[in-house]
């Protein structure tokens, strides 16, 4: 694939660098490598998952201090130092993640700023950690009797680690867990309704990024052979975030780009500015700050998207034919599937749904109609656990579900689409559809990073491709979801829901924005699904579309059910006519 070329060139440049660069630049490159590791964690955390941390420098410090203490005070091996540092970091990150990530997204930056400042002062004041003068005399690493104590040996170790981390991150993002991580950035509700445990996943990504920082800290301690508090303060934490954002926080190579630009810019400004402006003043932070502001005015997504546009096209996610995933056993026609019993939902004083009761039998297509604001979408949100009910009960196949969360309901076999398409706009249709199959795979983060889940991944992708072909988007597998027309985006939502292998499919206005022929195709698809044993409840405004399709129509007004019956009977029901036309017929 031609898209492999740019990373290859970058890797070749990294390998050739020790032959070409002076000792000074080798050391600078070592710093860049360490910073790249930390920034890579932030690319995953900030760029992909949409969470912000200012505390990464503190995790670097934790890794560095842990190994410094155990190697100098107790004479343990650096490898034990690594284990201790990683354990401490994981514990701290789990705790911080637990208390902040359940809250809305601005709390992680706040919590990590506080954490970063506290730990900096703790490093500087604990006698045990050498106070502000730090801990000297840290032994060098040694691998197979080969002592890593010169600049270029360290260079090899650091950049090998960086490349491995980049590879693992690339693998991770190109997997089931990676797709779920991408949904964390503003699509958590959608992800939950396909069974993604977003709260847990946020914590996992945060811990992953903290561990990368801690690893950098371990290397740092054995590279400099001395630790002191100053490189781990809040300013360093801000610098790492700068690197990720400047490099382009959505791209893993953005970490390397950002770390290089920031480190080199700092060094050069420190060299050049005193000659131009005199030595009296800290001019480089002024110029540096101005450059960052100007850069973000030009391109708020960082440099990497700009670089990528100049390079050959992106990687394709190619499905290969694989053994189909197992399907749920279909239900007998007529079995009671969903029973809604006197359900009410109030928002403050407004009753959106009032004492609503109806039952759905397996194997039918049922339409749910009503004027705007009648409470149709609220019914969907109640049945899928996105909103808690105020009163009443909802049963799915004889099991109470009104107190269950979206994830558990998804596991029982209910899948839905959203009234406003809720898609990852810049990812392909295939990736979007594959999110629907989240619960049908189980490979986790480590398996994905090491590519041990390729067989499962192939089956998931194959399923996604198959469902896209089924709904008629076979030609658009690799198109970005956001580039599709709105009607096709709704159809893509259906394909994603089908990937979950549902028994009950809830469709929120699937035909809106479709042309006549597309509506006919959609109707044919829904009939086909019904014949395949999938029950369908759909909210729709287009009566003509429903008339030829639904077996039964429910009509809601002001949160209540006002009619229930076959389409033609409902169409002439006086209460329905009054609701729609405002006059008694």
């Amino acid at each position: 694939m031609k898209a492999r070329l740019p990373p290859m060139i970058a890797i070749a440049a990294i390998a050739a660098a020790p032959l070409l660069l002076s000792d000074y630049y080798i050391i600078l490159m070592n710093y860049i490598g360490l910073a790249s590791l930390v920034a890579l964690g932030l690319v995953l955390l900030t760029g992909v998952a949409g969470l912000t941390s200012f505390g990464q420098a503190a995790f670097v410090g934790l890794g560095a201090y842990a190994t410094a203490v155990v190697t100098t005070r107790y004479g343990w091996s650096p490898w034990l130092g690594l284990a201790v540092g990683m354990t401490l970091t994981a514990t701290a990150a789990l705790f911080l993640g637990f208390i902040t990530l359940r809250l809305s997204d601005q709390y992680l930056p706040l919590g990590t700023i506080a954490w970063g400042i506290s730990i900096y002062f703790a490093f500087g004041n604990l006698v045990f950690l050498g106070e502000h003068s730090g801990i000297p005399g840290i032994p060098p690493l040694s691998l197979f009797g080969w002592t890593i104590d010169t600049g270029w040996r360290l260079y090899l170790v650091i950049w090998l680690v960086v490349l491995l981390a980049l590879l693992a991150a690339r693998n991770l993002l190109d997997s089931r867990i990676g797709r779920a991580i991408r949904t964390l950035n503003g699509h958590a509700r959608m992800a939950e309704s396909f069974g993604v445990d977003t709260g847990r996943l946020k914590i996992i990504v945060f811990v992953y990024s903290a561990l990368l920082a801690s690893l950098a800290g371990w290397l740092y301690a054995h590279f400099l052979r001395y630790v002191s508090p100053s490189p781990f303060g809040i300013n360093a934490g801000i610098d790492y975030l700068f690197m990720a954002v400047i490099g382009g926080s959505g791209h893993i190579w953005g970490a390397v780009a950002g770390a290089s630009i920031l480190t080199l810019m700092r060094e050069w400004l420190k060299d050049i500015l005193p000659h131009l402006l005199g030595r009296n003043g800290n001019y480089e932070i002024i110029v540096f700050g101005l450059l960052v502001v100007l850069l973000l005015h030009r391109t708020s997504s960082g440099l990497m998207p700009f670089l990528v546009r100049m390079l050959p096209g992106g990687r394709l996610l190619r499905p290969v034919a694989a053994a189909p995933l197992p399907q749920r056993p279909r239900l007998a026609r007529g079995e009671t599937l969903l029973a809604i019993d006197r359900v009410s939902k109030s928002f403050g004083a407004i009753g959106a749904v009032r004492e609503l009761s109806f039952e759905l039998k397996a194997g039918g297509i049922v339409g749910l109609i009503g004027p705007n604001g009648a409470g149709k979408s609220t019914v969907f949100n109640l049945a899928t656990g996105l909103l808690p009910v105020t009163a009443g009960s909802i049963m799915f196949r004889g099991q109470r579900i009104e107190r269950l969360g979206s994830r558990e309901i998804a596991e029982l076999g209910i899948a839905r689409t959203f009234q406003h398409p809720n898609l990852l706009a810049d990812r392909s249709a295939l990736e979007n559809a594959a999110i629907g199959a989240h619960l049908r795979g189980e490979a986790g983060l480590i398996a994905a990073s090491l590519r041990l889940e390729r067989a499962e991944e192939a089956r998931l992708r194959d399923e996604a491709a198959r469902q896209l072909e089924r709904v008629g988007l076979g030609a658009n597998l690799h198109d970005a979801a956001g580039s599709l027309p709105l009607g096709s985006q709704r159809i893509l939502e259906i394909a994603r829901a089908l990937c979950a292998d549902p028994l009950l499919l809830l469709l929120d206005e699937p035909a809106a924005g479709l042309r006549h022929l597309e509506k006919q195709a959609l109707a044919a698809l829904l009939r086909d699904l019904r014949d395949d044993g999938v029950s369908i409840l759909l909210v729709e405004h287009d009566m003509n579309f429903l008339m030829g399709l639904a077996d039964r129509v429910l009509v809601m007004e002001f949160g209540r059910l006002i009619a229930d019956g076959p389409p033609h009977a409902v169409q002439s029901d006086p209460a329905v006519l009054e609701a729609y036309l405002g006059v008694a017929a």
């Binding site: 900030t46 949409g50 912000t52 637990f98 208390i99 902040t100 990530l101 359940r102 809250l103 809305s104 997204d105 601005q106 709390y107 930056p109 706040l110 919590g111 700023i113 506080a114 954490w115 400042i117 506290s118 002062f121 703790a122 004041n125 964390l184 950035n185 503003g186 699509h187 958590a188 509700r189 959608m190 977003t198 709260g199 801000i238 975030l241 700068f242 954002v245 009296n280 003043g281 800290n282 001019y283 480089e284 932070i285 002024i286 540096f288 700050g289 101005l290 960052v292 502001v293 973000l296 005015h297 708020s300 406003h420 809720n422």
Partner: protein
Amino acid sequence: MNLDIALWLSQDAITNGAVYALLAIALVLVYTVTRIIFVPQGEFISFAALSLASLQAGQVPGTVYLLIAGGILVVAADSVGLPRAVALQRLPGRLIRQMALPLAAGGIAWWSASRPDDLWLQIVATLAIVTPLGPMVYRLAFQPIAHASVLVLLIVAVAVHYVLTGMGLVFFGGEGLRSNPYSSLSFNVGVLNVTAQSLLIVFASVTLMAALWFVFERTLYGKALNATAINRTGAQLIGVSPSFSGQLSFALAAFIAAISGLLIAPTTTVYYDTGFLISLKGFVGATVGGMASYPLAVVGSLLVGFLEAGSSFWWSAFKDSLVFTLIVPVLLWRSLATPHSEGDERQ
């Protein structure tokens, strides 16, 4: 610890807490209106305190030149992208509008520097220099990217903080300055020696809070800011320009920061980077209210004041560490009190 010390520490706590509360209010104001976490607030505090001290030393502070340069840049930024003829035609009006205040502030500062004993003139000059810097910063750094994500706005805010800190060092040097006390009076209340200085701080903070309350509840501009904070698009539809709201909130925040700077200037030696740490403590206070509630921000700031006073007595090396660790139990409490993840959905 006996009662005397407790009272003495409480006095300290309330005095400091009052300043943090002002800063927390400004942070909440700017965040709710513009979604910007106003990191450069600290520099406005330092600029105010150091400008006052410079004027008392008979010097025109460097911030005046920053103000004039900022005015020119704003005129330039407003003219960019316009056809040359239009830009030239509008230039005189713009120059008058944008440069009147900076030049007037410069004039007052120059006059004030020649009268080192006129305290009121120094205060007016300081406020006139620092307040207009707020809207200038908004216009130049944030207005062009007002719709960017909270993260990008935050990174730009940090970059602006760097620029202004660097300039603070250029203008005022690395040595700290301390201004003359406003009053050396003190009273004995029981065992407590209450200084007029700390009474002034508390009085000024409370007055300013009351004035802000009045602005928000009773004036059109205050209501416009409130409307923008609640719903940006809605406010825009009824005619509140987001650029105007942004500049106004930055002007208020700069004014509040300047007042805080004036209040602390005689109580401690202020360095070019002192403001940042002070403003971070206001930030911890604002976090208690989730960056959204003014009353809780005030409560949180007082809490910070008490914690700081207490820890400076028991464990002074860890004073700052403890203050920032306060955020942890606060977050834990908010986390346990919140049943559901509030992750905001992008539609």
